[in-house]
Amino acid sequence: MKKNVTRHLARVSKPLVYLIPAHLLLYTAMLAPMAESKGKNLFIGFVQQVEVSISGTITDISGAPIPGVTVSLEGSPIGTATDIDGKYTLTVPEGAVLVFSFIGFETQRIPIGSRNVIDVTLKEDMAALEEVVVVGYGEQKKINLTGAVSNVTSEVLESRPITTIGQGLQGTISNLNISQPSGSLGQGTSFNIRGNTSINGGGPLILVDGVPMDINLLNPSDIDNVTVLKDAASAAIYGARAAYGVILVTTKTGNKTLNKPTISLSTNFSVNSPTNRINFIDTKDRVDYMNEAYMRVNGRNYYDDIQMEALLAHYYDPSQPEAIVHPSAPGVWTGVANTNWEKILMNDSYPMQQHTASISGGSDKFDYYSSFSYFNQKGLTNRKLFDEQYNRYNFMTNVNYKILDWISVGAKISINSSDKRFPPFETAFGENSTIYQTNVYSTQPYKNPDGNWSHEGSIGNPAQMLVEGGYRTRDINDVWLTGNARLTPWDNVSINVDYSTNVKNQRELNYTSLVPFYNVNGEKIGYQSRSNPNGVARTHYYDNYYVFNAYADYTNLFNDKHYVKAMVGFNQENAQYNWVAAERRNLVINSIPFMTLASGERFASDGLDEYAIRGAFTRLNYILNDRYLIEFNGRYDGTSKFGKKDRFAFFPSVSLGWRIESEKFFGSLADRVDLLKLRVSYGNLGNQNVAGYYPYVATLNAAEVNYLINGERPISIYAPGLVSPTLTWETVTQQNIGLDFGFFRNRLNGSLDVYRRDTKNMLTRSETLPAILAVNEPQSNAADMSTTGFDLTLDWKDSREDFRYGVSVILSDYSAKITKFSNPAGIFSDYYVGKDVGEIWGLTTGGIFQSDDEALALDQSNINGRKRQAGDLWMVDLDGDGKITRGLQTLDNPGDMSIIGNSTPRYSFGFRPNFGWKGFDLDIFFQGVAKRDLWMSTLYYLTQYSNEWVGIAKVAMDYWSPENPDAFFPRPIISGAPDITSVQSRFLQDAAYIRLKQLTLGYTIPSRVTQRMKIDRVKVYFSGSNLWTGTKMIKISDPELSGPSAYPLFRSLSLGANINF
C-alpha cells in the first residue's frame, strides 16, 4: 500500500502540463506546500473560535501509515498534511468536521465530536479516474485515450518475485503475447502484440524511457510502469519501427514529496526445478527396443550375443562389470552398463536469488532515484560436474534538477551487466537445448571399470566433457547515459530534448580443452570430437547506439470546452555494430586458455554494420466538452535500410473517442456507469524490419576454404545472393474499435477492442521458383496478409473492511490469412492466397495395422517403400484413389494430405484473483492458451524411427506389438520410417494449456511492530511459479516450448522479503 502512495505522490509531483480539472489543480497546488510544512499549522492564525487540538495517524487498510494526506477543516482553507509516519496534528474549532483526502483514496468526512485523537483508515479509491498513462512522446490521461493502449504499473510487477520484465508481464495485458524459447540461464522473453505480424517476423518496438533497450537486461523492480500501444493510431508516432506495436517502459524517478529518503530492500531466494523432465529408457528396455527395431530392417538383433549377455548380466546383477572387452573391438571398452544419464547430468533442483536496494527522495528543486540489484541463477547442469551460472548486476540512477522555474535538466545512468558461464561448445550442448546429450544411452558406463572416463566409439562422455572440456562465458556490459532538458518557457508550452548514448560491450570466450579417450590399458587413444585441438576463441562485440529526441507541445483549453494539444517532434537514431573475433589452437598448457600461450593456428575476423533512422512527427488532440475526442498522428520517416529513392515515407493515423457516459441522454444510468467510452482508430504504419542492414545492396563475401592450395588454406570470394534493388517499406494498416467501461463505482472496469491489421507489400522472398535458380528468391514486397482479433480485459475490485479482493481476466485472440502471394503452382508448403497462417498440412493417420494382411491391402508404397506389416501406421485414403500419396503437394493435387491443424495460439487468457485480509495478501495467477496444435521438434519424440544413434524416451516403449495392440507408437524400426516422422494427425500435439503461473502469499508485518524497529514496512512472502499445468501434451515436452529437446522451463519456489525504511 505504501508503494501505491509513493507512486501517487510521484505522479502528482511531476510538472503538470496536460489538462487537469480545476479541482485537481487546486488540490495539487495545495498539496505540495503542505507536504513540505510537515504538519505545521500553517493556517492557524486565521482561526478565531474556541479551538481544540486534534491529532492522529492515517493508515491504509493494511495498517501502513500514509504520508501526505490532506487533513482539512470543512469549508475553510485550514488544513495540514500527514508526516512521514502518517501522523498529523491540527487545531480546529470545536464541533468541526474534518476532511481527510488523498489522491487514489476515498475522501472521508469525520465530525470531531469530543475526541482529541482521530485515527483514520483510508480506503483506496477504486476510481483512480485521473490515472495518467505514458504514451509516445508524452503522457495522457487514461480517460482521454482514443487508441488501443494498455498499461500496467509497478504494483502488478512488484506483487511477486520476477526475474525478467517479460515474466512479470505475461498474462497481464491482453494480446501482449510473451514467449520464452527455453529455460536456459539468462534467457529473455520475446514479445508480440496482437499476433501475426509479417511473414518475415517482426516484433514490437520496445523503448525504455524513450530509447530502445534490451529489456531482458533490466532490473524489473526499477520499472515504474509499462504501456503497450497496440493499434496503429497510438503507435504511429513511432513510425517505421512501430508497425507491430510499441512497449513503453518508464523507470522510476525520485520521490520529491518526502523530504526523507526512502530506502527499499528486497531479497528473494528460490529453488528451481525443471517443469519437465524426459525419462530415458534403461538398458533392459534398450536391448528389447533396439533388437526389435533392427530385426525389422535387417532380420537380426542389434546387439550381438556377447554384448547382450553382458548387458543383461549387469542389468540383473549390478555387481557384474559395466564394460567388457569385446573380441571384435580389442583394446577398447564396450559399455554394458545401466546408467541413468539424465540423473548424472542434471540437478534435481537449482537455486536462484535476487536482491535489490534502492534509495529515492528529493525536494521541489531536486529528485533522485538510485538502485542496485544483483541476480544469480544456477543451471540445470549437475553442479558437481560443471558450475553453470548466470549473474546480473543492475545499477540505475535517475536525477532531475530544476535550474530555473522554466528549465529543468535531468540525467540518467543505467548500467546493466551480466555474466554467464556455460558448458563448452559441442554439438550436444546447445545453449538453449537440454544438456542431456543426444547420443548417449544407458549402456555407456559413467566410468570404465578401471576408473577412467568411458566413451563409446566416437561418442564421448558428456559428464567428462562437462568436467574436462572447458567452458564458455558471455559477459555483457550495457551502459546507457541520458541527458535531458525540459523547458516550459510559456505556461502552455513545453519543450523536451533528450540525448542518449549507449555502449554495449559483449565479450565471449569459448575455451576448448582436451577430452581424452582411454583404452583398456588406460592409455589415451584419442580425443572427443571438437575437443582436439584444444584452443581458445574470443569474440568481442562492441555496439554503439545514439538516440536524439526533441519535441515540443502546446496545450490549451478554450472557453472551458475546447481542449487542444499539439505536439511536434524530431527523432533520429543511429547504430554501429562492431565485432572482432580471434581464435588460436593448441594451448601450451591445456588448462590455461590464453592465445599468447598457444602454439597453433590463428584465426581472426571482424565486421562492421551500421544503420540509421530519422523521423519527424506530430500529434494533434482536440477534445470537445470532455466528451468528443479526436487525435491525429503522423510521422515522416526515413531509414538507411532502403535505397535512396525508396527511403522516406509518411505514415498518418487518426483516432476518435466518445465518452458516452457524459452525455445528458444517459440520464440516471450515469449513477451506475462511471465510464463508457467508444474508440475508433485507423492508421497506416511502415515497417522497415528486413533481414540484414543493407538488403538492397549485393555484396561478395570472403571466407576461408577448407582445402590446401600450396599447403595453406586460401580464402575465396563468394557470389552474392539475389537482391531486389527496389525494396521499400511494408505498410501496415490497422483498424480498431474499442470500448472502455467502468461500472458500479468503478469496481468493474474493462475494455474490449476488436481489430484488423492488413500488412501490405510484405518484404519476403518472392514466389517459389524452380530450384535451378540455385539461390533463395530475392526479397521483395511480395505478400499481403490480414490479421484479425480482439483483446478483452475485465477487472473487478472490491473491499469490505479488512477484506479486499479482486479478479482480473484477460482474453485475446487473433488469426491471420494471406491475401496476396504469387504462387501459381499452388504449393501449399508455401504461402497462397487464402492460407490461414500457421496451418499444418499432413496425412491423416487412421491407426496402426493389426495384421500383415491388413497392412498389405493398402498401397502405402508412396509414403514408405518398405513392405508394410502389422504394427505399421495406416493412413487414411482421403482422395479415395486406393493408395496413399502426397500428390504434388499442391492445392490442386494434395494427394491424401489435408490441413490437420493450426499452430496459431488461440484464445490466450490470464485469470488472476487476489485477496487481502489485514496484512495478508494472496495473489493467484493462471495463464494459458485454449487452442493450439503443435508439430513438435522430433528429437526424443520420433527420432527413434529415423536415427539409431539418439537417446530414446521412456514413452517410446508404448509401441505396437501383438501384445500391445493399442499402443501410441508403431512398431520400432531402426531407420527408414519417413511415414512415421512426417507430419500427420497422430503425432500432432494439442498444445493448449492452463498453467498456474504464480501463487504468492504475502504478509505485511503490522507497522506498530515494525515502527519500533524504525522500519516503515516489512513484507514477507512465499511464492511459487509454474506450480501446476493442465495440458494434453505428451509428457516429454512443455506446452510453452518447441519440443522435448529445449532447455526446460523451471518451476520455482521462493521465499522473500521487501523492507522499506
Binding site: G299, P327, R647, L708
Partner: protein, 543 residues
Amino acid sequence: MKNIAVFLFILLVAATACNDDYLEKLPQDKISDNTFWQTGADVEMYANQFYPTLYDARLAWYNLDNFSDNQAPSTRNAYTWGEYQVPSTEGGWGKNDWLQIRRCNYALERIAGMNRDESLLRAEGEIRFFKTYYYFEKVKKFGDVPWLNTSLTPDSPELYAPRDPRQTVIDNMMADIDFAIDNLPETSDTDRLTRYAALNLKADVALYEGTFRKYHNVVGGHEELLSIAATTYEEIIDSGLFSVYSTGAPEEDYFNLFVQYELKGNPEGILIQRFISNKRMHNNVRQLGEPYTGYNQDFVQSYLCVDGLPISLSPLYQGDSNFGDEFINRDPRMRQSIYHTDRPYNIAPNGAVYNKVMPEFQNNYSPTSYFIIKGYSPYEVDRMISQSTTDDFIYRYGKVLVSYAEAKAELGEASQEVLDKSVNLLRDRVGMPHLTVEVGFVDPEWPDWEVPVTPLINEIRRERRLETCAEGNRWDDLVRWKAGKLLEDIKTVQGATDPATDDYRVLYPGYSTRTWNDKLYLYPLPTQELALNPQLTQNPGWE
C-alpha cells in the same frame, strides 16, 4: 533568454533534419561486384571455393559403393532395395545442388568483360573444369538436365524450360572441358588444377557417356565418345609424367599407396588433395574403423588366383570354408584391400599392436566380416577424430589405366600392346600374371550381364572392379553397363563363412534378395519441381 532557448531548439532540429548523408549507410566490410572483377588472380581466388567440393563429393567414398554389388552395409541400402521415395524437394535437385553451377556461371559472365590475358584464361579454365565436373554429377544422376549458361534471375526463361537432352549437355560439357585443357598448365606446384586433371575428367565423361549410350542403346554416337575417351586417356599415358607407384614390394605397395601422408610428387597422382596436421585433416580412417559396411561374398570371389585363373578354374584355390583359406594364393590386392588376421589392426602410440581374430560377426561394424582396409591406417594417431592427415587421390593414374583398357576394348582396339601399357602395369605392381587379349579361359562365374560382353571386356571389368574397389565408382559402372540386375545375386548380400552355421553369413535374414527395377538407373525429380515447371517430366518409372 527563453526565446533564445526556443530558437536554439528549432535551429538544432532544422540543422539535423535535412542532411541525407545521415541515412546513407553502405556495407564497409564487404566487397562489391564493381570493384572485385579486375585480374586473373581475382578469378583464381574466386575459383578456390570449388576445390573443397572435390573432396565433398568423395567424403567417406567407400560408402558410395554400398549401392553396388561390391559391398553390403549393415543396414540395407534403401535405394537399391526399391524403398526410395520420390521426394518433394531436394533429392539432388535442390537449390544447393545447383548452387555450384550457378557460381561458375556467375564468374563466367563477369570474366567475359575482362582483359583476356594468360592468367585470366587459366582461371577461366579452372572454372570451366568445375562446371563440367558438376554437370557430370547431374547427368549421371538425372540423365537429361537443363544446360545453364548464366546465373539465373527470377526473370530467366530457363526456369520454366524443359530439360535439355543429355546429348546437348554432354556436347556443351565437352566444349568447356576442351577450353580447360587448352588453358590449364601442364603442371602445378601449388596443387591447383592441371591440363592432365582436365584430360582425366574429359576422358571419364566420354567413357561414361559412351558406354551408357552403348549399353542403354540411347541417343547414339557412342563410338565417337569412346574414341575420345581412348585418345584422351592415351594423351595422359603418353605424357610420361605419371607411372604406377611401386617400391618393388608386391605384398604392400598397393595397400601403402592409400595411406600415404604425402601424395605430392607421387607418380600415380594426377590430381591429389593434401592434408596437413592442424591445417586440414579428415576423419576417413576413423570411419573405416567402424564402417558399418564391408565387401560381400560376390566381390571377394571375383579375385583371381595367383596363376591368373578365376577360383572356379584354378587348382590353387583353397576354398572359403575357413576365413583365412580364401586369401591363400589369391591376387595380392585381396590381402591389401580386405582385412586379414595377419595385418596389424591397431597400433597404439606406445607401439602395442592389436590384431583382430577373424572372421568376426559380433557387431555391425563390418557385417560381412570382410573389412575394407583401403585407406585404413592402423595407427591410432590416424584414427583420432578428424585428425588424420593421410592424403587422398582425386584422379589416380592407376584408374586411368583400367579406364583406358576398357575404352579400347569397347572400341575393339584392345591389342596386347594396349593391355601391356595399361592393366598389366597394375598387375606387375602386385606380381600377377599378365592379362592377354585372348584371356585364355572361360569363367563359368562371369557375371550374367544383361548385354553380353566379350571375355576380354569381362576380364577388364574384373580388373577395374578389383583395382578400384571402395573408391566410389562401382555404382556408376553398373549404371553405365546397364548391369543393375547383378544386384539380384544373393551373394551380394552374403558375407564370409560363419563358423556358427558353416554357411555364408546372411546379412538380412528376413530379406532374401532384391529385385532390380530399371527405373533406378536414373533418380526421380522432386515433385515440387514438376509442380513449379510443367515442362519438366519425371524420369521413367518414377511417375
